[in-house]
Symmetry: C2
Subunit: 88 residues, 2 copies
């Protein structure tokens, strides 16, 4: 796979729908959904691609991930990785 450079600003812009479950700042308010803030960027890329390909299955994530391009995935992952995992 080519490693795409993630654009944090664009990631933020396209993250609105993610925030509905994973929290506006990447801290989930829903116990069954993970926090994403400060998570490893490369791990996030791999999981979004796994949801998109069907390798990892989740009723909520599958349909979202299928709409994402490789660049979207890079941008979202860069955005969430740089968020503070412990916001004040």
């Amino acid at each position: 796979d080519t490693i795409l450079q993630g654009d944090v600003k664009r990631g933020s812009e396209i993250s609105v729908v993610c925030g509905m479950c994973h929290g506006v700042n990447g801290i989930s308010n829903i116990p069954i959904y993970p926090n994403l803030a400060g998570q490893k960027e490369q791990y996030l890329v791999l999981q979004l691609k796994a949801f998109r390909s069907g390798e990892r299955v989740n009723i909520a994530m599958t349909s979202h991930a299928q709409k994402l391009t490789d660049q979207d995935i890079a941008d979202l992952s860069a955005y969430y990785a740089q968020l503070d995992p412990k916001p004040q």
Copy 2:
């Protein structure tokens, strides 16, 4: 599913093997592996059970998870959920 109460102390004791990839304090040093510190307890339980059942597949996690009892999963999840996601 019955909700088991997780024992943080026991979780810590049985987390040694997890720490080899996910970091001694739940902050992974390996970009493809996720941080676990401060992650949602219920999410961790669900993922460990998904690895154990084969619903979620990962070459490293599958074999580890297959050795875990429901109580092990509850204890590990309680342990990682209460770790500081941003250690000093």
